[in-house]
Amino acid sequence: MTTVENRRHIGVAPVLDEYGGRRHGEPLRQMRPIKQRAASPLPSPSDWTFELVDQYHNVIRATAERYGLDTYPNQLEIITAEQMMDAYASVGMPVNYRHWSYGKEFIATERNYKRGQMGLAYEIVINSEPCIAYLMEENTMAMQALVIAHACYGHNSFFKGNYLFRMWTDASSIIDYLVYAKNFVAECEERHGVESVEKMLDSCHALMTYGVDRYRRPAKISLAEEKLRLADREAYAQQQINDIWRTLPRRADKLDEAAEARRFPEEPQENLLYFIEKNAPLLEPWQREIVRIVRKVAQYFYPQRQTQVMNEGWATFWHHRLLNQMYDDGYLSDGMMIEWLKSHTNVVAQQPMSNLNPYALGFAMYTDIKRICEKPTEEDRRWFPDLAGTDWLPAIDHAMRNFKDESFIGQYLSPHLMREFRLFSIVDDEKQKEYEISAIHDEAGYQHVREALSRQYDLSTREPNIQVWNVNLRGDRSLTLRHTQHLGRPLHESAQEVLKHVARLWGFGVQLESVDDKGEVSKRWSVPAPTQ
């Protein structure tokens, strides 16, 4: 059994620019001036052609460069609706390993699409280098322009700039990795049978959201540094030696007790799949590799799950900004403008009282930051003294790079916006018969609403906190997971089913304890060792 490394080093703070060596220059303070205004607008038929897409792309790129958007190279791909559904089905990736759940997804998408219940997304964009954007064949020219601006310059620059993506994803290798994963899984199916591979993948998928590292591991220290530290430790140990104490005989029973009490793992582990990959006693090497593959894919998508509002908002803000700029420069015809604005309006529509639309919220927030920079009110000066009256380009660049949804909202949601959205927060307490309105968009409530909304986007409150608690090393080798309740929220009853999957991976019995706010175990689930 391998040892568990302590993956939660606090001491070493990551240097901002270390991630993959991707250093970025200073953001532009002002937009660069245009070299030459367009003599006449670009042609605007409703059907696109390759030449037209190319022409529009060139203009959009030039405009984006004037704003200093830093992107990966772009690769546009034209696909059919059916291929779009294919891409949908395999979580948006151009290649992926085979699994029945993707087949299910495809069937469901196809059915909805054919019945007309659902339009397909206009685009899919892949965080890879070059950044691949899918344009659908059915789209009109105006839509293609919108998609290019949105995906190739909005999302693309976000992928390249945001700290989470820099930290956790490697755009240049993801496609290669997925190709490897696909081949590996196919090979396993050939060797060990489709069914056993499927079982493995099912179990891993059940734990997929618990297969991510939430904190960055410290960079490995160099051998020289390691030696230096070793020398330090030895020197220190040498100082502590007291020969008199050393001669005292040890009490035998005490030693045993210590060994008995030693836990495994010594610290609770939150990355369940990692723990299983490294420690599950019975897994075959190929099974470990499958766990690893699922874990890697989960980690790749982890930043996307945490930056929905920011990412979509950023892309929406930029397609809006770029296309407007192009209109101002005389590149876009009026008809074109009306057409994409209509789609844009649909995208950022917000139904009152329903869930917040990430596109709407994100778009409004970036627009609001720009407003605060350019035309701050007295209130804005009070709330955002660092922002008011500065250049807006560096301001939103900073906002895009260094936050995730939770902190972005916590930092930038302004009272102005809360009033505009008429945000309010509702408390649903199980013990009360009624909902309570805890805060609304007024002077007394701004802080509260902002905090509540920020929490709402915090993955750690959205998903139950479940960690590896203990392994019974001296007994039946059973694994104990611990769920720590937050605000008394219980686990969903599907936990029992998930536990069966954990047991399949672990190979021995598995327990899950739910610990309430008082630190007492309030509920237990358990699954016996799978019989094989």
């Binding site: 087949g103 309105i437 219980p490």
Partner: protein
């Protein structure tokens, strides 16, 4: 920045076919059930359609850890027009509801089945799963006139169109290396020696001069020889080889024999028809080309087209052997057994002129069965009359003769499966 627009529309259309296969495999039981139901309920004309399959959503669930209802939750919503801080709003009845879906979607009416469409191909796949053509000594190769040409390695001789350039060039390269290596090595040595000699301290010495001249001459010879190795030689050429192999005949003829005497009513005919259709569909999966011959009979046999076969009504007595005689004639005239795989299917209510049944058995045993791949008899009535008795003797003796009874529509498919089940699998 390099920009590219790639047209992917033509490539990789059915990328998720593999995923779909796995999905179908996982839910085989439900799908098989749906197919069984569809076959029972369907009209004959549309037997080949696909089918919608319902699978309960709970069977498709992929469980993950999640929060259940309860505890304290705080949600931020937009669009407040009426509430002030501290307002209390009644919860909708039935617990969690309201916010984020809650229970409403998990039980009761909201729990729709997951429905998807099985394509025609997939439908047939499930339909005929585990079935095989019984005891086939597949048409003997000796008398098959059919050939298929396919690749078989490479030869050193062939037509220019079949030239394999890469292999030829590889051969040439190998030959050039092989022929030239010794010479080149010697050349290298001589050149070194030449260099040494040229820098010899007494270059004017006669002996040295002589050696110099010798070496130079030898170098010239070697150079010429290396140069003379041909770049491409006829022995380098490789051609793709194609050979013709005999293949089993892929043509089949199916004889449908049906009793249309007065005792065969519409519902019995319908049963017979279903059986014929199944057999036909099944054969289409095994043979490229299938012809169907319809022979109906009462006291006399008649070759008719499909429409008449199934729909025209006749009355009168029954002489089964008349149909068998006609089948034999037709085979002899039109379908030489060396070229055709012959299948026979007979449906009757078992009613026959009692002196005729023995003759039927004899005809089958001596004339027809030796020519057939398989002959199936389906009786669409319960009563076991003398025809059944006679045939029973036959089925004990012959392996490629089978007989079953089917009296209801729902029995046709099981009977069919039983007849054509693969050795060693359950029906």
């Amino acid at each position: 920045m390099l920009q590219q627009i790639i047209d992917r529309r033509l490539s990789g259309k059915n990328k998720s076919v593999g995923n779909r296969e796995r999905f179908l495999r996982r839910h085989k039981e439900q799908i098989r059930e749906a197919v069984r139901r569809a076959v029972d309920g369907r009209g004959i004309r549309d037997m080949e359609r696909g089918e919608d399959v319902h699978i309960p959503k709970k069977d498709l669930n992929e469980p993950v850890f999640g929060h259940g209802d309860g505890g304290v939750r705080e949600v931020v919503r937009p669009g407040n027009t009426e509430h002030m801080k501290g307002d209390r709003v009644a919860k909708p009845p039935g617990g969690g509801g309201g916010q984020g879906g809650g229970k409403a979607g998990d039980s009761g009416e909201g729990d729709d089945d997951f429905v998807f469409h099985l394509s025609r191909e997939e439908f047939m796949q499930v339909f005929f799963e585990d079935l095989a053509l019984p005891n086939l000594e597949r048409t003997q190769l000796a008398d098959t006139p059919e050939w298929k040409s396919h690749r078989a390695g490479h030869t050193s001789d062939g037509t220019p169109t079949n030239l394999h350039v890469v292999r030829s060039m590889r051969g040439a390269l190998g030959r050039r290396i092989a022929l030239g290596t010794g010479k080149r090595r010697e050349l290298l040595e001589l050149e070194e020696r030449l260099a040494l000699l040229k820098h010899h301290e007494d270059v004017d010495d006669f002996e040295v001069k002589r050696m110099l001249a010798e070496t130079e001459a030898r170098i010239a010879v070697l150079r010429a020889r290396i140069k003379a190795i041909p770049f491409l030689d006829p022995i380098d050429l490789r051609f793709r080889n194609r050979v013709r192999t005999p293949v089993p005949s892929s043509r089949a003829v199916m004889f449908c024999l049906m009793d249309v005497s007065g005792s065969m009513d519409e519902s019995r005919k319908d049963l017979a028809k279903r059986f014929f259709i199944l057999l036909y569909l099944f054969l289409t999966r095994h043979y490229d080309k299938i012809e169907v011959v319809f022979i109906r009979h009462h006291t006399q046999a008649q070759e008719v087209d499909e429409q008449n076969f199934f729909h025209a009504t006749e009355t009168g007595g029954t002489v089964v052997s008349s149909a068998l005689v006609m089948m034999e004639d037709i085979i002899k005239k039109r379908y030489p057994r060396s070229e055709w795989n012959i299948y026979g299917a007979q449906a009757s209510d078992g009613d026959n002129w009692h002196h005729d049944s023995g003759r039927c058995r004899e005809l089958l045993a001596t004339q027809i069965l030796p020519m057939c791949r398989y002959f199936a008899y389906v009786q669409v009535a319960e009563a076991e009359q003398n025809l059944w008795e006679e045939y029973r003797k036959l089925s004990d003796e012959t392996r490629h003769f089978a007989m079953r009874k089917a009296t209801e529509v729902s029995q046709i498919y099981p009977v069919f499966r039983e007849l054509f089940r693969k050795e060693g699998t359950k029906a």
